[in-house]
């Protein structure tokens, strides 16, 4: 059955690696390795296993932080270390003088490298901790939770979905997905009325494909919907779309086009676009110099393309630098880098021969055909730029009585957009929204809001287009 096949980890699939509370995205490769902090894990063992399988990380050689994986059915828990241990009533006798732990750093490190299991290590940590028995049972539990994070070496492989991918990215670096918190993301999907059928339009300039992946996920597979993903650069950011392992058929519902090419083709026709390309051939050298200045971005397709790709490449480089230390999404970004090169090759080819239509042009034509065939059922804008010109340019593609929603990390550009749209009288029910989200620790007698909560939910502007 195909569902069974879906549940097996195979080469090329993206998976989520979970180690205690830490999650990471990994693309399965034949002889892949994964960096988990300072540990290197050889990953080939997961291939062919079903999702949800748990593996133990076992050192390849004593003293080295390289591990191979071994499938396990039972994981050990530290909780039974607590059994029958006495505990204190409060912390009146505990003095934090840094001498509670009798083992030195070196001794602990040696324990780790000697190949002892996590449980054995934590067992000796407790034994050698002179204040452990004075701690309250809650405090003991907390201590064990912390040590579990550090010393237990189990990883479980999960299948990616939108909420997991969002979680990984939001915790790693919410800037990468435009600070789009899950409440804002979920409301983007509701307020734009995304569902399995109809045409949806998205402008996204920097969420690593988070919004495109989420919308495509809601359009579903074997359904009638389409998504036009407009982006300002040379290539769309699709890291998270790729990470969803969507089937081909579902990916085909997504058309990624440059917003400048799209609007030029729609308003001026194919000859205008082809003119641009042939001009580009003639003026290639001259343009290259101009382009680097990055001026007149919105004036010409030629001018906006190359500076943009440089910009993105620089960003990717930064990303990779971050990844070396933090190392969570290396494979997904590598994937998109590769794709980027492929696509820029195509662009270069287009510069040489005009006779053969480049791929991007055909895709743009597909998108134009779609919007000429039907009005969009919903419009979503996730912009880093000022959204006013974007929404003004895209509203004509939206059907009457249909909703749009704009996300921005800042309130001011949305205020200005609100006022301008309000004066136009063709939109109603305009609402500028912000959300407060907090999570809770729920434990017997210890329930309270989590100490840390995100305060960067961003702002949403939603409304309906009318005649």
């Amino acid at each position: 059955m195909c569902e069974n096949e879906d549940n097996i980890i195979t080469v090329g699939k993206y998976v989520i690696i979970k180690k205690q509370n830490f999650k990471k995205i990994y693309k399965v490769a034949t002889n892949g390795t994964l960096m988990l902090g300072r540990d290197t894990v050889q990953m080939h063992e997961i291939i062919g296993k079903p999702f949800w399988t748990t593996f133990e990380m076992i050192p390849v050689k004593e003293g080295k932080r390289t591990y191979f994986l071994k499938e396990v059915l039972e994981t050990e828990s530290l909780n039974d270390l607590l059994n029958k241990l006495p505990s204190g009533n409060d912390n009146r006798t505990i003095v934090d003088d840094g001498t509670s732990q009798k083992l030195s750093k070196e001794e602990i490190l040696r324990l780790q490298e000697s190949g002892k299991t996590g449980k054995e290590i934590v067992g000796s940590l407790i034994e050698n901790n002179k204040s452990f028995l004075d701690r309250t049972e809650y405090s003991q539990e907390k201590y064990l939770k912390k040590k579990e994070q550090k010393y237990l070496r189990y990883i479980t492989i999960w299948k990616p979905n939108i909420s997991l991918l969002h979680d990984v990215y939001f915790q790693l670096d919410h800037n990468k997905i435009g600070n789009l918190r899950m409440d804002s993301l979920s409301q983007l999907l509701s307020y734009s009325d995304v569902q399995s059928d109809g045409l949806y339009m998205l402008y996204d300039s920097g969420s690593h494909g988070m919004s495109a992946a989420a919308i495509l996920n809601r359009i579903g597979s074997n359904t009638e919907g389409h998504l036009i993903n407009l982006h300002p650069g040379n290539v769309p950011q699709l890291a998270l779309v790729n990470a969803m392992n969507f089937p081909r058929e579902q990916l085909d519902k997504l058309i990624n086009v440059n917003i400048y090419s799209f609007l030029r083709l729609y308003h001026q026709g194919e000859s205008a676009v082809l003119d641009k390309i042939s001009k580009k051939v003639h003026n290639n050298c001259i343009n290259k110099i101009k382009e680097n200045k990055g001026k007149n971005d919105d004036e010409s397709l030629v001018n906006n393309e190359i500076p943009q790709i440089e910009e993105i490449d620089m960003k990717e480089e930064n990303l990779n630098n971050i990844n070396e230390s933090n190392d969570k999404v290396e494979h997904s970004t590598n994937g998109s880098l590769k794709r980027k090169r492929d696509e820029s090759d195509i662009h270069e080819a287009a510069e040489v021969t005009v006779a053969k239509k480049p791929k991007w042009l055909m895709e743009t034509q597909d998108a134009v055909k779609l919007v000429k065939g039907s009005k969009a059922r919903g419009l979503v804008i996730v912009a880093k730029e000022h959204p006013l010109n974007i929404v003004t340019a895209l509203l004509p593609f939206l059907g009457f009585s249909r909703p749009f929603v704009i996300y921005h990390a800042h309130r001011e550009p949305l205020q200005e957009t609100y006022m301008t749209l309000k004066q136009k009288q063709s939109v109603i029910n305009l609402r500028l929204l912000s959300n407060f989200l907090r999570s809770y620790q729920v434990l017997p007698d210890r329930t309270h809001p989590d100490i840390l909560t995100s305060d960067t939910g961003g702002y949403l502007l939603s409304g309906y287009l009318v005649q």
Binding site: D183, S196, N429, L432, Y440, T447, Y464
Partner: protein, 313 residues
């Protein structure tokens, strides 16, 4: 029938949203005659603050149209689950769009999902759930209140949604979700006074490959008992959230600017300080509402792992 596809023109039998203003929206059914309070069929006329609207006269107009009334205008919109939530006739407390959005996101619903909802209440959440799981998914919705289920069922039919939803009158805390639903559900949503009583049944109703359980409760004590029960039944990855939406009102503000620096020097002519007081700056800003819903409910999400890796206490 105006919920199941995008429509261009208003037809008889549609449910429309009449938009008079921000907080003034109404859902109306396009029918020539409706019964009055004595049960007699009379012309379907809806009174608004801008004058009377002969509802049936909207037939043939486009959705999104601006309808002239004797003292103003109204807009006619095709309902979305969000607009429906704002205009649904309340039979119970309802869940609003911010919580609905979060619930759907956390339950990982997609077209094709099999989802269970209890209780049905006024059907506000049901409409949003059906939107996500269509066309090949299905919603099974339960309520222990017979009249509510009947009204909801009739509503789904009027809205053209009945093939995506099965509604049943049942107290799931006592009877469970039924044998025919065993190991069928991708996700279960509980909005019950005692959600923990339904969890045993939930375990056998979720798919063997695992699934999500989401519970919405206004009180923290309910959350605690629910979480304790969920953990004992092998659920993992428990998280509880609270989401509050704030609407901010965009407006221009004129701020007077005081010139105080001139007071340091002797004034040449008149009192410059007084005159300068009239200087103003026009500022585009946003005001928060004087009050807002400070609490709706706690949303708890939990994952049931696939059968072969479940651990129960």
């Amino acid at each position: 029938m105006s919920f199941n596809k995008v429509k261009e023109f208003i037809e008889e039998g549609d449910v429309i949203i009449l938009y008079l203003g921000h907080n003034d929206m109404h859902s109306l059914e396009i029918k020539a005659k409706i019964p009055n309070k004595n049960g007699k069929m009379v012309d379907n006329v809806f009174q608004t603050k801008y004058g009377a609207l002969k509802v049936f006269s909207l037939v043939g107009h486009k959705y999104g149209t601006k309808k002239k009334l004797s003292r103003g205008w109204a807009y006619v919109l095709q309902p979305t689950p969000e607009l429906w939530t704002l205009t649904v006739p309340h039979r119970t407390q309802i869940i609003y769009s911010p919580d609905i959005s979060l619930i759907i996101h956390l339950m990982d619903l997609i077209p094709g999902s099999i989802v269970i909802e209890t209780g049905t209440g006024s059907g506000s959440l049901s409409h949003a759930l059906i939107r996500v799981i269509r066309p090949h998914g299905h919603l099974y919705t339960f309520d222990f209140h017979e009249q509510r289920i009947n009204i909801a069922q009739a509503e789904f039919e009027r809205h053209g949604l009945s093939k995506f939803v099965t509604s049943s009158h049942k107290d799931v805390c006592i009877e469970g979700f039924g044998k025919e639903l065993e190991t069928k559900a991708d996700a279960i949503f509980l909005d019950l006074p005692h959600p923990w009583l339904a969890i045993d049944y939930a375990v056998s109703t979720l798919k063997k490959s695992g699934g999500k359980l989401c519970s919405f409760s206004p009180c923290i004590e309910q959350v605690q008992r629910t979480c304790a029960k969920l953990i004992s039944k092998g659920f993992i990855e428990l998280n509880t959230y609270e989401c509050l939406q704030r609407e901010v009102h965009v407006q221009y503000k004129n701020l007077p600017i005081l010139n105080l620096e001139c007071l340091q020097y002797e004034n040449v002519d008149k009192d410059m300080a007084q005159e300068n007081e009239k200087q103003e700056v026009k500022l585009l800003t946003a005001m928060h509402a004087r009050s807002l819903p400070g609490h709706t409910g706690f949303v708890t999400i939990a994952t049931l792992p696939p059968f072969h890796v479940r651990k129960m206490e």
